[in-house]
Symmetry: C2
Subunit: 260 residues, 2 copies
DNA sequence: TGCTAAATCTCGAAC
DNA sequence: GTTCGAGGTTTAGCA
């Protein structure tokens, strides 16, 4: 058997709603992906409530019963349901109704189709690995590997050090023996990052007589946050994300070699 | 001319990549919606970076060039680009490449197809109104209309009162003449809501000699947030969202009647 | 444009 | 199961 996607895909154009109901019910039972293009209205009730009046939309149901309702514009679905919800298909008078129910929190979506133009069901074979890099966590990894990126002579003592107000990203000593509290932000740092850092410093200062420096490492910083840092006598250091990506890549390549 | 969606939709099954390129290029120029089912890999570079290895996926491009790449599971797209980005289609050796570029922040997605199984392009006619209820803003509207829901004898003075740390949701006086600072959370309130409220209270207390009460109104509250409230001597009041929805509905119906 | 706070936030990890 | 923090958060509103 030739297992191309073409053989795992079926298509109906202009199906009757009766035909669609049978077809959809079957596809849902078999955990297929489903794409429906048609005219529908949508009601949602759960954490909030919404009503979407009649119009043409694309409804996408996935293998795990995740459900998306998309209009012609915008990146976000107008209505949705996350996976592990229960889906039922039924005919209601002149219409076809799809109900998706999720428990915890209880949320119900009801789609009422007056017309279905195109119906696609299929399964996707997809073992491709997805890797995202240069997250805040990745920056930490880079700084663990290359503490001199923080500053020459810096010695890290702890990462994710737990204190009362939360977790200090990096905690260590500089070349002069001062304690250093470091807060990392991957993107542009704002006031709240400065507030967070100053809270950590106050907490550390209450436990020691030594001088405590506060260092915010980020891609960049907003003006008002920078002003706040100056008045609080904190330091900002920008970090080149491309450089981090390069180091990470070299590091990961090295790790892979070790595994071979 | 019969303007059903069927006449605004075209479908290709098992198109060659050359054929696909022409077809897609045209669809992109004309701001059509596009759904591609096929085998592809994806590279993303922008605020972060990611690589998605080869596998079967659904790619959805909308009228406004919003782009979604979906795998067979999960509510969220594995990669995406918001609208108003630039899209280009090209053949690269044995493959078809879709590039989506966004400025500010600069982000690039590159999809490389080795196989396209199904290609759909269409336009959606969708004038249906979307209305969402019981947002935090809606709760404020309800409390403006029915201040006794806050407590008997409460008199609101200001909504969205601006002070240094931010905006106070509701500010007023209770029946005994005490000032009351109210923070509203639509869902379950967590520690951060309590911290926010206490910041507002400290700010108000610094401007007056009068007693200042702090009241958190929310659907519910986490245990640790509740403990924090007790130690800070703040008050919590739960609010029934269904009741709010009913009041809103009655209110909106009344407004509509006035407009007639 | 920058900044603040909400969101049907989602997601994952720790407790 | 609950809580908490981070996110390519996204998005809306306002100075």
């Amino acid at each position: 058997m030739n297992n191309t996607l073409q053989n795992r895909l079926s298509l109906k154009t202009q199906p009757s709603l009766e035909e669609s109901a049978t077809f959809l019910d079957n596809a849902v039972q078999e955990n297929n992906c489903i794409i429906i293009i048609g005219c529908c209205s949508v009601k949602y009730e759960g954490r909030a409530r919404s009503i979407l009046q009649l119009g043409e939309r694309v409804v996408f149901i996935k293998e795990d019963k995740a459900l998306l309702i998309h209009r012609g514009r915008g990146y976000k679905p107008v209505n949705w349901q996350s996976s592990s919800s229960y889906i039922s298909i039924s005919l209601r008078g002149e219409n076809l109704r799809i109900r998706s129910i999720r428990r915890q929190p209880r949320e119900v979506i009801e789609i009422t189709f007056t017309d279905i133009y195109t119906l696609l069901t299929f399964t996707l074979i997809d073992e491709g690995e997805f890797s995202l890099y240069v997250s805040e966590r990745d920056i930490q990894r880079v700084l663990i590997k290359e503490p001199k990126l923080i500053e020459e002579g810096f010695t890290p003592l702890e990462f994710e050090k737990q204190i009362d107000p939360g977790f200090i990203d990096v905690y260590g000593i500089d070349s002069k023996g001062n304690l250093v509290v470091i807060e990392i932000k991957r993107a542009k740092a704002r006031k709240e990052a400065v507030i967070q850092l100053s809270r950590y410093i106050r907490s550390i200062e209450s436990t020691t007589e030594r001088k405590v420096r506060g260092l915010l490492i980020a891609d960049s910083i907003t003006k008002s946050a920078h002003r706040m840092m100056k008045t609080l006598n904190l330091e900002f250091k920008s970090l080149d994300l491309n450089e981090c990506a390069d180091i990470l890549k070299r590091f990961d390549d090295f790790q892979k070699k070790l595994q071979l």
